[in-house]
């Protein structure tokens, strides 16, 4: 993998089973080509996700219910696997699960969890303060898109967004798993605009959505400083050997 990039992989906890997802998580933890892990907790109504991740989440949720595994237990087990590692860990889940976790843990305990931030796909920039006002102290990763308005770009330059560990650039109008051409000059221009807006923050601007493998990574390395892979990795979660090969191939 490209060394100068901030490189992340999304993992759907509980898919195809909790055990198997934890085994794959250990591979991610130990792989030198991965800088950060997006730890996905499944939600019943994942509006930002395409068919592959949605189906994985549905199946993960059904398994968890059958085993009586709560989101809190799933997360605790994953954080056990990651204990003592030096990779960044971001919890990726929908607003309703964040609400649920704040109730289940209590905000004090939740704020002490060893994670580096939350990625909440249904909490856009302008709702950044919602969970903060409800006791959340972890960073909430800000989003930017090719259509983010100048007004919202200004939010990116201000606290609390300013001190978030990175900015998540959603490269595509659509859901996860869609195809994307990173040679598109218009996209590169928009990315540059966002990079410019957060220049003072010294954060990577991570490209998400539409990245399947090495070809796209080479394209995006020409202008971007980070990426995250979702769908293509989730598809391999059931086969640890194939999963490792995939990481090696990037």
């Amino acid at each position: 993998m490209q060394q100068n990039l901030y490189r992340g992989i999304y993992l759907c906890l509980g898919y195809p089973s909790q055990e198997k997802s934890l085994a794959v998580l250990a591979i991610l933890r130990d792989h030198p080509g991965v800088d950060f892990i997006e730890l996905g907790l499944p939600f019943s109504d994942p509006v930002a996700d395409g068919p592959v991740i949605s189906a994985a989440a549905q199946s993960a949720l059904a398994n968890a219910k059958a085993q009586g595994l709560s989101p809190r237990q799933m997360l605790d087990q994953a954080l056990d696997v990651l204990r003592g590692n030096d990779k960044k860990v971001y919890l990726m889940t929908y607003g309703n699960i964040v609400s649920h976790l704040l109730r289940q843990y209590g905000d004090k305990t939740f704020n002490r969890l060893p994670i580096n931030g939350l990625i909440i796909p249904d909490v856009p920039l302008r709702e950044q303060n919602f969970f903060r006002q409800r006791g959340l102290e972890h960073s909430v990763i800000p989003f930017a898109t090719p259509e983010t308005t100048d007004q919202d770009l200004k939010l990116l330059a201000q606290e609390p967004v300013k001190s978030a560990p990175f900015v998540y650039f959603v490269a595509i109008r659509g859901i996860t798993g869609s195809k994307m051409d990173f040679r598109n000059p218009e996209l590169r221009k928009q990315y540059a605009k966002v990079s410019q807006a957060v220049k003072e923050n010294h954060q990577p601007v991570v490209l998400g959505f539409g990245i399947q493998g090495r070809t796209q990574i080479q394209q995006l390395a020409e202008f971007a400083n980070g990426f995250v892979i979702g769908t293509a990795a989730v598809e391999l979660q059931g086969e640890p050997a194939g999963y490792r090969n995939f990481l090696d191939s990037l």
Partner: protein, 408 residues
Amino acid sequence: MTKESTAKESGPIRDYWGEFGGCFVPETLVPTLSQLKALFLQLYQDPKFTEELRYLEQNFSGRPTPLYEAKNLSRKLNCRLFLKREDLLHTGAHKINNTLGQGLLAKYMGKKRVIAETGAGQHGVATATTAALLGLQCVIFMGEEDTLRQAPNVQRMKLLGAEVVSVQSGSRTLKDAVNAALQDWVSRVEDTHYILGSVSGPSPFPSIVAYFHECIGRETAAQLRQQYEIEQPDAVIACVGGGSNAIGMFRSFIDMPADKVQIYGIEAGGISDAPGRHARTIGLGEKGVLHGYHSLLLQDDFGAVAPVHSISAGLDYPGIGPEHAALHASKRVHYDFARDHEALDALTLLAQTEGIIPALESSHALAFLLRESQRFQGGNVVLNLSGRGDKDLAHYFAAQQQRNGTQK
């Protein structure tokens, strides 16, 4: 008070009611929602827009609807009962108020295509009707389960020229249809407007939908005064699923003194309070986020949206509009419920005493009134008859037959 309640308000658009509401959507939808808000604020007072809407309301859908004093039932209940006849509107329910308004918005915004979610099919039919009228391409998302339960409405939508997409994900019901519509919208915002069907969803939808239904309460208040010389009714009752007909009715009465004008929102109590057997979002839900807004939500121990049940497909929804959650929190509106069997009995009674077959949704409001009639003795009671029951006949007879079978 939380900070959000002081968030900027503009015209009829509010982002939050206390802590409820907001705009919880993927970042890619935010510019579209901002654009919708800005265009709505430009248009809602535009004389050309309002005139065109008024003409269609009067001559296409049939406004104003009558406020009918149901004297036979009034005698039985020992009160004066007034029925707001939204059931007489074109397509059979209040839903067309919103689809005409939003359909015109879409046209004025230059969008060629409209999409909508539907559960029972009433909102889908109203949207398909509006799209046919205004020459817009129309796609309706409907859970596979609902397309089977509501086959006649699927046929109506197709006849009106709409494409009906059967949604196969999740529980294959209304909530999944909303997800599918949101996903479609994310990828096609440039030519598409999403005609969301209730006072739910991300801001500005709850405000826009409520705005187009405010005519219900406005007409009712005027009719009470002019036809019946009643300045303030003693009680106002409406059924609540997402809550659009109820908000349309309530808004004209919530500023009247709470000790004089009591307001009731009636949820679907289903079969029992067991999980998955009801749709009592206000009664049994917890705070949560679904479909773009923060409100009360029926959910399970896993933070997943809970399955819901009601004999009425239009009330079969795990969320509730944010304004209702706030009206519940402030105690201005009392939320109660009626069970499936009570709604069936109420439908029978209204049909046989007044010659009006109400929708199963509206029958819940009526069922509450029948059960609690002691509270309303001698009072002036307004009930929003939000839809007609023609669509429910097959379901009604099947349910009655099942009850008779069980009794034997």
